[in-house]
């Protein structure tokens, strides 16, 4: 319990510092940060529609946050979730505009499954390269993001494209494949419910299954895993596949729930924002629900803030960057010593 409270204290401190630094930057743009935060809160959570839009903005972040949490928990720095997301999104759109004769629920489950598989397979390459030849996964996953983005753009420009649009996009999916909207006119859709279910499932996997234990141990102490005779290469492969799978589903949900077709370069960087989501949640699946809500609110509120003030849209990204950069920093000197002592007394953490 004390460890848990310690973590909460660290997260609150991290948020306070991040808000403070972001506030300073807002002052630099000659606006009043308190005023900006007030508009943001009012836009993002005060009204029913605002709240629905925030949840809608949080939906892809839950998936990418979970995807990255799985990898980080296993000690794998998978920054390739963006690539899995693009390929997953395209696969979902492909299923949605090709297998048009299937009934809706079959179509939706098939699209989610296929996009997850494609996203997972995409993450397997770096995983295999890592376990077989010790190739740094940060470099390979990041490089493959560019490949995935260019490749999907190629597909919708040359093969599955609808001519006549400035932005390359695919044919639309059939209406039956659309995820139902929960609170129109907002874009909140069934994907949000799926996201919460998956977060719960992942929480269960981490806490109560052998696979979850293996992942946690691999992240905490890779040598221990090796010396215990656990199949460490298999765990890496499985963790990366799961991470990519979730990334792929993230893309599919955006297509089936919001865009209804694949659009080139549609993601504003959900895969990268997922890093902030996962780190802020300390890689805890339930924590991801809260951190993605926070970042979803900021991204959603920012669009209103931008209309009403002079604040450019880069502010949320700056906030996100500060969170990622400072998340592991010991913001209070000596705090880490205390935490280590607490960690020795309590056994769970």
């Amino acid at each position: 319990m004390r460890v848990f409270l310690g973590e909460i204290a660290r997260i609150v401190l991290l948020l306070a510092v991040s808000f403070f630094v972001t506030g300073l930057i807002i002052i630099f743009t000659k606006e009043n940060p308190l005023n900006v935060f007030r508009i943001l809160v009012r836009a993002a959570v005060w009204s029913r529609q605002g709240l629905a839009e925030t949840l809608s903005a949080a939906t892809p972040l839950i998936f990418t946050g979970l995807a990255i949490a799985v990898a980080f928990k296993a000690g794998l720095f998978n920054v390739g979730v963006e690539g899995s997301l693009y390929l997953g999104a395209f696969s979902a759109a492909w299923v949605g505009f090709t297998l048009t004769h299937l009934p809706g629920w079959v179509l939706i489950s098939l699209a989610l499954l296929v996009s997850g598989l494609i996203g997972g397979l995409w993450a397997l390459g770096p995983a295999v390269a890592k376990v077989c030849y010790n190739v740094d996964e940060i470099v390979t996953t990041l490089m493959l993001n560019y490949v995935a983005i260019f490749f999907t753009t190629y597909l919708v420009t040359y093969i599955y494209g609808v001519p006549g649009f400035a932005n390359a996009m695919s044919f639309p999916i059939v209406p039956a494949a659309r995820l139902p909207r929960l609170s129109p006119p907002s874009q909140l859709n069934l994907g949000f419910v799926i996201a919460i279910l998956i977060a719960l499932v992942l929480w269960f996997i981490f806490r109560r299954t052998a696979f979850g234990y293996e992942i946690r141990m691999l992240g905490a102490n890779p040598l221990f895993v090796k010396w215990c005779g656990m199949p460490d290469t298999k765990i890496v492969i499985k963790a990366m596949f799961l991470s990519g799978f979730l990334g792929g589903v993230a893309g599919a949900i955006q297509i089936l729930g919001i865009h209804y077709r694949f659009i080139a370069n549609f993601s504003p960087g959900y895969g990268y924002t997922g890093i902030a989501v996962a780190l802020l949640a300390r890689n805890n699946p339930l924590g991801v629900l809260f951190s993605s809500f926070l970042l979803g609110a900021i991204y959603n509120g920012e669009s209103i803030v931008e209309l009403m003030t002079n604040i450019p849209m880069e502010i949320p990204r700056i906030f996100e960057g500060i969170i990622i950069a400072l998340t592991s920093a010991e913001l209070v000197m000596g705090f880490h010593l205390r935490r280590r002592r607490v960690g020795r007394q309590g056994d769970k953490g």
Binding site: A129, V135, V139, F151, T157, P312, I318, G321, I324, S328
Partner: protein, 298 residues
């Protein structure tokens, strides 16, 4: 196919990678895998263009690039040395932050969001090598901006500094065995910060070549993974400056090839654009595969 043009574009594309990779070598040898190369290059690219546009002076722009990147490097190393922050996440955060911050500054200064294209920008001086420029094939090596040649000087600088000076010895000692280095009285933290500063400044110059050398504009996406490609070059060379250089030229070639394929052939541009990134992945895997193979046989 135009051989001279291809060699020229290879040299130009390799130069920023080389600067960043040599910088990264200092980090690598002090025991830090530096993922913030990307951010440091971007800071350099931005500062170089802004300062040059403001002052009308390229030399000041270059200094500005070194300063901005150095400042970022200092922040990075203070975070990891003094606040015990995680290397990877801190660097990733700084990458995100730098992109957003550059866009914010660009918007505040110019009101534009996409790209910053200053009018009447003074050019980086270019170097025409008297004899080479008249020889048919060798003329490919003449007439580039001084930073393209500077990249090769940076190779000499890096090799000399790392392997033939007391500072280089200290850097490698700290990277090899921090405890032993501490035991003989080295100030580990200062050596690490010093190496990180050298790294950042070199990255800044690489960034300046990106914005001032070729395109003469700034967009927040202009580094496009180049910092990570430089890191891949270091992995390729296992920390050896010569092999790292080879990798940079190789990756520079694929980047040049990509742009020329778009000009000369009917290949869909997106497929051509995939080439440099795929080449990095394939090269890294091949090199590591060979390494593993050799270890098994030995």
């Amino acid at each position: 196919m135009n051989f001279v043009d291809l060699v020229g574009v290879t040299l130009r594309q390799a130069a920023p990678l080389m600067f960043a990779a040599y910088g990264g070598l200092f980090s690598y040898h002090v025991g830090i895998i530096n993922i913030a190369l990307e951010a440091e290059m971007l800071a350099g690219a931005f500062a170089a263009l802004v300062v040059t546009a403001w002052t009308g002076n390229v030399e000041l722009g270059l200094l500005g690039a070194m300063f901005a990147a150095g400042l970022l490097g200092l922040i990075f190393s203070l975070l990891i040395e003094n606040l015990q922050a995680n290397l990877v996440t801190t660097a990733l955060g700084l990458n995100t932050l730098t992109i957003a911050f550059a866009r914010l500054l660009m918007w505040v200064a110019t009101g534009s969001r996409g790209a910053f294209v200053p009018q009447e920008l003074p050019t980086l001086p270019s170097l025409r090598i008297p004899l080479l420029s008249s020889v048919p094939v060798l003329q490919a090596f003449s007439g580039h901006s001084i930073l393209v040649y500077g990249a090769w000087l940076a190779w000499a600088f890096t090799s000399l500094l790392l392997y033939h000076t007391p500072l280089g010895l200290r850097i490698r000692a700290v990277g090899e065995n921090p405890e032993a280095a501490r035991a003989v009285g080295l100030k580990i933290k200062s050596v690490r910060i010093m190496a990180q500063l050298l790294c950042a400044v070199l990255c800044g110059v690489g960034g300046a070549q990106l914005s001032l050398g070729d395109l003469r504009l700034f967009t927040s996406g202009m580094t496009a993974g180049k910092g990570f490609i430089a890191l891949a070059a270091i992995y390729f060379g296992r920390g050896n400056p010569a092999f790292t250089t080879i990798a940079c030229v190789l990756f520079g070639f694929f980047d040049g090839l990509q742009s020329r394929l778009q000009l000369w052939t009917e290949i869909p541009p997106q497929l051509a654009q995939m080439i440099p990134f795929l080449s990095v992945v394939v090269t890294l895997v091949l090199v590591s595969w060979r390494e593993a193979h050799r270890r098994v046989r030995a």
